[in-house]
Each structure stands twice: as structure tokens, then as C-alpha cells.
């Protein structure tokens, strides 16, 4: 009886206005967790687990789930056709993941001329102090800021981030790319202008637009770290 009592506490199901929260105890063994989860879900809890589609957030506390383990939990929950996992929430990540996050969040500062035939590729944001010459390429998984002339190719959000922006002191690229979107340069640039500009994907028009740098804070407020 004491054993059964304890089992009751490893998986807690809470209803919120947005759906269900599944709290998984982080101290018991994973086997216990799986066992109890199976049990609780197969128990008939009335319309809660059988009614219309409900989204589920799985909270794993201080337990680290391997891909295989979270796969198993997805499978178990997936057996209930009306449950849809929105996300896993956890307090812990691996060192490798932490380092990856740090890289994504960092601004790589590089001082050089990126010349024809050269490719400068970074994780996170790129701050280039120098020019990108025609035939040269700069890439970043985050934003790109060029303190110099951008005359080659720039690819921001290279791993798919459509929110990335590309800014340059002199914006005369041969090609701009943000995430999977490509924008070729006009065949002629005007003599003047193209100074301090910024490129971004406009959600309304679903294409890359270039505008004065001063509008960036409006379209990408999340750039602020202050």
C-alpha cells in the first residue's frame, strides 16, 4: 500500500486554462516514471483525457532526459489521440547545449577585409570591422553588422532564423540572404545613399527589405539587450 501511495506522486497532472501540465518527479527512477505515466494515462479520467484536443506541457524539473527517454515519453503521451505535446520544460541542460546556447547568443567581433573567394562564417551575431569585398561572403546564424562596406554576399540567420537582420555602414551587396530567402542586388547602385542601412525579412511582404538603420528598433525590438 505504501508503495502504491508513493507511485501516485511521481506523475502529477494539472489542468490550466491553456491545457495540461504534466509534472514529472525528478528523483524517482525513470522506470517508475514510465510505469506511472502509463498507468495514469490509461486510467479513465473522464473527458479530460478523451475529449477534444488538449495541448500538454511536460515539466521534467531537474531531471535530464536523453533523446531516447523523451522519445519514449512522447510515445506514451501520443497514445492518447487528443493529447498534443506543446513542449518539454526542464531546469537542466547539458554542458554541450549550454555552450551551444552561449555561442548562439554571442557577438563574434572580427576585424579584417573579407576578400574575394573568402568565406567568414560564425555562430551567433557577426560584428565585422572591415569591408566585405565583391566575391567575399559573410555568414552568421544570428545578425550581421558590418562596420565598413558590404559589397559581397551576406547571409544572416543562416540556420533558419528569419528574424535576423543585416546592417552595414555602406550597403552595396551583390546578394543578401536571410534564412532561406535570397535577394539579388539591383543591377546598378546609385552613386550616393546606401549608407547605414539594414536588411530584414518583412513579414507582411514575405521578402527581404532594406531600410534606414534607424527603423530597426521598431521592427526588431528583441535586438535590445539593455
Amino acid at each position: 500500500m505504501a508503495m502504491a501511495q508513493k507511485l501516485q506522486h511521481n506523475v502529477t497532472i494539472k489542468g490550466t486554462k491553456d491545457g495540461l501540465v504534466l509534472l514529472l518527479d525528478d528523483l524517482c527512477s525513470f522506470e517508475h516514471l514510465v510505469e506511472e505515466l502509463n498507468e495514469k494515462l490509461s486510467d479513465d479520467h473522464g473527458q479530460l483525457l478523451n475529449g477534444p484536443l488538449i495541448s500538454v506541457i511536460v515539466k521534467t524539473g531537474n531531471r535530464y532526459l536523453t533523446d531516447q527517454q523523451s522519445g519514449l515519453i512522447r510515445e506514451i503521451i501520443g497514445q492518447k489521440k487528443n493529447l498534443e505535446i506543446k513542449r518539454f520544460e526542464t531546469n537542466v541542460i547539458t554542458v554541450a547545449e549550454a555552450e551551444e546556447m552561449k555561442k548562439e547568443a554571442q557577438i563574434m567581433r572580427v576585424s579584417k577585409v573579407v576578400r574575394s573567394g573568402q568565406v567568414l562564417s560564425v555562430q551567433g551575431d557577426l560584428l565585422l570591422i572591415g569591408d566585405v569585398n565583391p566575391g567575399g561572403t559573410v555568414m552568421a546564424t544570428g545578425n550581421i553588422f558590418v562596420l565598413g562596406s558590404l559589397k559581397g554576399i551576406a547571409h544572416g540567420g543562416s540556420a533558419g532564423n528569419r528574424k535576423a537582420v543585416i546592417a552595414a555602414s555602406v550597403m552595396k551587396p551583390t546578394q543578401l540572404r536571410i534564412a532561406e530567402m535570397i535577394n539579388r542586388a539591383p543591377d546598378h547602385y546609385p552613386e550616393h545613399g546606401n549608407e547605414m542601412e539594414c536588411a530584414f525579412i518583412s513579414d507582411e511582404e514575405d521578402q527581404i527589405l532594406i531600410d534606414r538603420i534607424s527603423i530597426v528598433h521598431k521592427i526588431r525590438p528583441e535586438l535590445n539587450r539593455l
Partner: protein
């Protein structure tokens, strides 16, 4: 021990061989001991420009393949006791020499000469790698046209990965009236794109071609603008501070930057 300078460009026909011959001749005029090395195996030209073709017995590949000693392959110039040429082979191709072998030869020449001037073939492949292998310094030659500047940029990028000092720039075949009318890139524009130090500007001068056909480098005739330009480049290589005069160009990019900063 002397120093080895490679003359390169990326694009063909911009004036590497002409530059090599004239810088070599100008340095010899100043009394320096100079050896010119033609690394354009299969398309040798430097001997023709120097008027020494008829004296070739052995060449670079003969030295590499040990058919002769290095000193046996060196040809003494007609005009100067202190100027020599190591000719390229005409019947082989670039792959008959390896960078390591080239390095060894240049090293050996540096023991005996103040300056070793290496004429690099066009392109970015094996020939380029060979030419750069033994060099301490490099000079990039470009013409005032976009494709040539683009290739120069590529070469500068490749030189950054080699064990040579930051390259210096020569803009060759400048025609002032075209630059003024905006039909050609001007020198300031080129320097601002390539962002390396300018060491000389040579005008387009038909006497250069005439001289080449006679096998007598233009630097030998003191009156032409091109000749003065090459001699000035040689003086800058020797460490003199010769201003980039008005004959060569109006006002350089670097002097402009300094004015902005209030340094001059």
C-alpha cells in the same frame, strides 16, 4: 642575407613580368645584387623581356631535377654585372616543381643576392604556390579595371594564408584621362577596395611595349614616365620614402585619410 619578393596578380597579362624585369633592373641600377627568377614554367617571358633568351642553357626544372647546379643555370645580364636571371623551363609544366623545392632554391639564392625577384604566373594554382613558397614579401600588380582588381583581391586573400609579409600594391597601365572622365577605376578607388599599401603607380606607356620588343627594360631609358615610376618603386623597396608624385598620381588614398585625421 637578402630578401625574396614575389610579383603576383591573379589575372594574366596585367604586367607581372614587365614589373619584375623593371624592378630588378632598377635595383641593379642602384648597385644591388639582384637575381630574377621566372617561375612561369611553360610560358616563360622574363628572359625575352631582358633580351637574354639566346643565353639559356639550363633552367629552373634542370636545377630541381639536378641536371645542373644552381649557379650553372643563372644567366648574367648584358648590362649589369650584379643582375642575374634564373629562367623557367619552356617545355615542362607547373607540376614539375614542388613548393618545397622552390623554397630551397630561393633560400640558396638569398645567401648570395640582396634581392631575389620572383615572377609569378597568372592563376591561383600550383604555379602560384610555387612562386610564393620561398618569398618573404609580395607585390600585387593590378590594372585599373574591375576584373583585374577582383582577382587582385582574391590573391591578397590567398597571400594572407601564406608565410609572407602583407602585400604592397602596384597599379599598372593607368591612363589618367580615362580615370578623370570616370571611365576607369581611379587609383584611390582601387586602394580603398584592396586596402593594402600602395607602392607605385605606372602609367600606360607605349614605350614599355617597344622596350619589351627590343629586350631592353624600360627602366634603362631614364626619360619615360613608366621608367621613373619603376625606379621610384625600387627606391621604395630600398626603404627610401619617395612620395607618390603628381606624375604618378594626384593625391593618394592614404594621404587623404591622414588629412582627415589631422596628421598632415
Amino acid at each position: 642575407m637578402g630578401e625574396a619578393i614575389v610579383i603576383t596578380s591573379g589575372k594574366g597579362g596585367v604586367g607581372k613580368t614587365t614589373t619584375s624585369a623593371n624592378i630588378g633592373t632598377s635595383l641593379a641600377l642602384s648597385g644591388k645584387k639582384v637575381c630574377l627568377v621566372d617561375t612561369d614554367i611553360g610560358l616563360r617571358n622574363l628572359d625575352v623581356l631582358m633580351g637574354l633568351e639566346n643565353r639559356i642553357i639550363y633552367d629552373l626544372v634542370d636545377v630541381v631535377e639536378e641536371r645542373c647546379k644552381l649557379h650553372q643555370a643563372l644567366i648574367k645580364d648584358k648590362r649589369f654585372e650584379c643582375l642575374f636571371l634564373l629562367p623557367a623551363a619552356q617545355t615542362k609544366d607547373k607540376s614539375s616543381v614542388q613548393p618545397e623545392q622552390m623554397k630551397k632554391i630561393i633560400m640558396e639564392l638569398k645567401q648570395d643576392y640582396d634581392y631575389v625577384i620572383i615572377d609569378c604566373p597568372a592563376g591561383i594554382e600550383q604555379g602560384f604556390k610555387n612562386a610564393v613558397a620561398g618569398a618573404d614579401k609580395s607585390i600585387v600588380v593590378t590594372n585599373p579595371e574591375i576584373s583585374s582588381v577582383r582577382d587582385a583581391d582574391r590573391i591578397i586573400g590567398l597571400l594572407e594564408q601564406e608565410d609572407v609579409e602583407a602585400p604592397k600594391l602596384i597599379v599598372n597601365r593607368v591612363r589618367n584621362h580615362l580615370a578623370k572622365s570616370g571611365d576607369m577605376l581611379d587609383v584611390d578607388e582601387i586602394v580603398s577596395i584592396l586596402a593594402i599599401e600602395l607602392i607605385g603607380v605606372v602609367v600606360d606607356d607605349e614605350n614599355v611595349i617597344k622596350a619589351a620588343n627590343k629586350g631592353e627594360p624600360i627602366a634603362m631609358s631614364p626619360n619615360s614616365k613608366a621608367s621613373i615610376a619603376y625606379r621610384n618603386i625600387a627606391r621604395r623597396i630600398l626603404g627610401e620614402s619617395v612620395p607618390l608624385s603628381t606624375i604618378e598620381e594626384e593625391k593618394g588614398f592614404f594621404s587623404k585619410i591622414k588629412t582627415l585625421l589631422g596628421m598632415r
